[in-house]
Each structure stands twice: as structure tokens, then as C-alpha cells.
Assembly symmetry: C2
Amino acid sequence: MTTLGLVPAKQGKAVFLRKGETIEIINTHGNQVLDTWAYNAHDVTEHMSMEHTRSVNSTIYANAGDLFSSNRRRPMLRFRKDTSPGKHDTLLCACNKELYTELGCKEYHRNCEDNLREALKEFYLTPPSTPSPFNLFMNVITGVDGEILRSPPAAKAGDSVELVAEMDVLMVFSSCPQDIKPVNGPACTPSDMHYRVLPPGTPT
Amino acid sequence: MTTLGLVPAKQGKAVFLRKGETIEIINTHGNQVLDTWAYNAHDVTEHMSMEHTRSVNSTIYANAGDLFSSNRRRPMLRFRKDTSPGKHDTLLCACNKELYTELGCKEYHRNCEDNLREALKEFYLTPPSTPSPFNLFMNVITGVDGEILRSPPAAKAGDSVELVAEMDVLMVFSSCPQDIKPVNGPACTPSDMHYRVLPPGTPT
């Protein structure tokens, strides 16, 4: 059994994956949203793109079996397993400091956009922009008129997903610090998340 | 009457708008999709963001009356008038050279992503990445299971939209060069588009 890695509540974490490795992401306490990005580890101008992924897969949702495309339309990640109720979001932005100002915060509030920057700093990288994130466990559906309906995550403690690296990738996670709206559950209490890197060939 | 500007078929064009000015965009021959971006004219790290706009407006569609937000969650454009059937897309990527390779092109094919770069070059600017575009007149709806359904544009010759600048903006348009799929109508023939800049206070 490989060691568990931690994405601390409200913080970011970058993880390098070699092609063929799988990352298992565990919603340790349930209810938590994890904003997720992936970069080509050898050229960070190539990154996972929600708009290209939607174009390739012709759906606004992300389900086990799907491939995630880069902005150069190459497969970056394969979504191979999902023990959660399968509610994840491809439509919404990462939260940023301006969003918290909008919500009434007078002082700095931790946010997913800055978590991305902090996490990449460990690798001496500065992203020129914030790609649209894949929001794991974020329970967003659209209504018949295209309205975006947000519900608290449906993921229970211990639910997990598995993503396989289709190239060498630098993944970045942010355990979303949202504690004003019930994005991370009705308790509005962001929590730790865990992950495990599985070697190539690990069965699902 | 102000002069008509041209966005040539398959090409890009950048247009500077002062706060309060309106740009009227005319689907001259009907059927044509126009990929659209907007940058803060004084700081191009701030740009119109589809993911923030969806977050603010809580819809995947864009309708007359809506505001478009920047990646710093400030209003950039106001969608004040639409004489077309109102089908526009916020979900899909700009086409790029890799997309045309995927469609079987052996040689370079003009594309909206490179049109963005070319258009900004006139202003001595190089975008570090391609923001997700607002695809004017692109007829994309989602089905009940979130599937993305593409139809040829519903816009007829002469249909137009009006966008008001809520700050000084540099707008970029690309008359989409897609001539393999019927994105720009069943004839697969991209066409010229026109625009007119209207001074502040021009009635709708």
C-alpha cells in the first residue's frame, strides 16, 4: 500500500505523476470539493482544458471512462473509477479573492486561485493565467433552461475517484476554502483531502 | 451613421472600445459564428471569462440583458440587444490547429486561436493563453443528460447583437474558419462579418 498524501483543508498541493501512474483521490471526510488542474510536466503551456474536454466529449459532465483533453487536444488524464455519486463540475471558475470580496469579506480570504499559485511555487512555476478547473465532487447540474443549480457535494466520507496520467503531468489540487456558501457541505467547514499515487498496472 | 468595420472571413480583428461605447456586430450573410474575446485595455491579464460569467449569471447561456464578467469578477461587457434568434455559446473552445489535424487536415488550417494571436499582434500584444471564447451566433444547446448538441447557426443575414463596454476594452473577434463541419452553416463557407462602434448614449 502506497503512502497517503495530504491536501490540507483550504490549501493547495501539486503532485507529479509519470505517464501510466494513477492518482486515487479520497474525499476523506465527505462533502469536500477539490479544484483540480493538470499541466504537461515538460511544458506547462499545455494544460487540461475544460472547454476542449467538453468539445471532445460533447458533454458538460465528467464521468468515469472519460478522457480529459489538453488545450492542444491531447489526452492528459483518464477518469477510470468513481465510487462517489459521480457529481463533478466542469462549468464553474475557481474561487478567487474577488469572489470573496463579492461575498462581503473585508479581509483576505484563502481561495483556490491563490492555492494553485502557491502549490506551483514549490516547483518554481508561475502560471500566467488560471485555467478553468475540474471541480471534483462539486455538485452542479443544469436545468432545462440552462440554469446552473448548485447543491452541496453528494460525496460521502471515503468516496474516491481514480485518474490515470496519459502523459507525465503535474497535477494541482485545491481543497476549496469556501466557508460562506455551502459548496463544501451544509456545515461550511472545508476539510482535508487525501490522495495516493498507484504504480502503472494497478488494477481498479 | 458610423463606418462599418470588417472582420474578414476566416480572419481575426481587434477593436478598441472606450467605456460606454457600444459595438454592434452584424452577421452580414447569416450563418457565421464569431469567436469573441475582451481584454481590459489597460491590463490584458484581466479578460472576459466564460467560467466567471457562468458563475455570476448562473446560466450556461448568454442572453440580452446579461453582463459578462472578467476573471477578476468585474463587469466588462453588457449584452444590450439581440435581433438574432439568440443562440450563442459559452461552453466550447476556440478551434485551434490541433482540432483541424484531428479532423484530417494534413496542412495548416486557419483557426480562431491563431486569429486571436494575429489580431493582438497589431497592438503589440501576445496573449499567454487563450481564454475560453464567447462564441457569438454559435448554436449549441445541452440536452437533459448534459449532452452538447451542435446545430448550424440560426442567425439570418443582417441579424445583429450589441455589446456595451463597461470598461475600456480591447475586443478581439475571429470569423470562425471552420469549413469542414457545419459550424458556420450547412454550406461550410465562412463569410465576412461587420461591426459598428456606436458612441455612448446611442439609443438601442
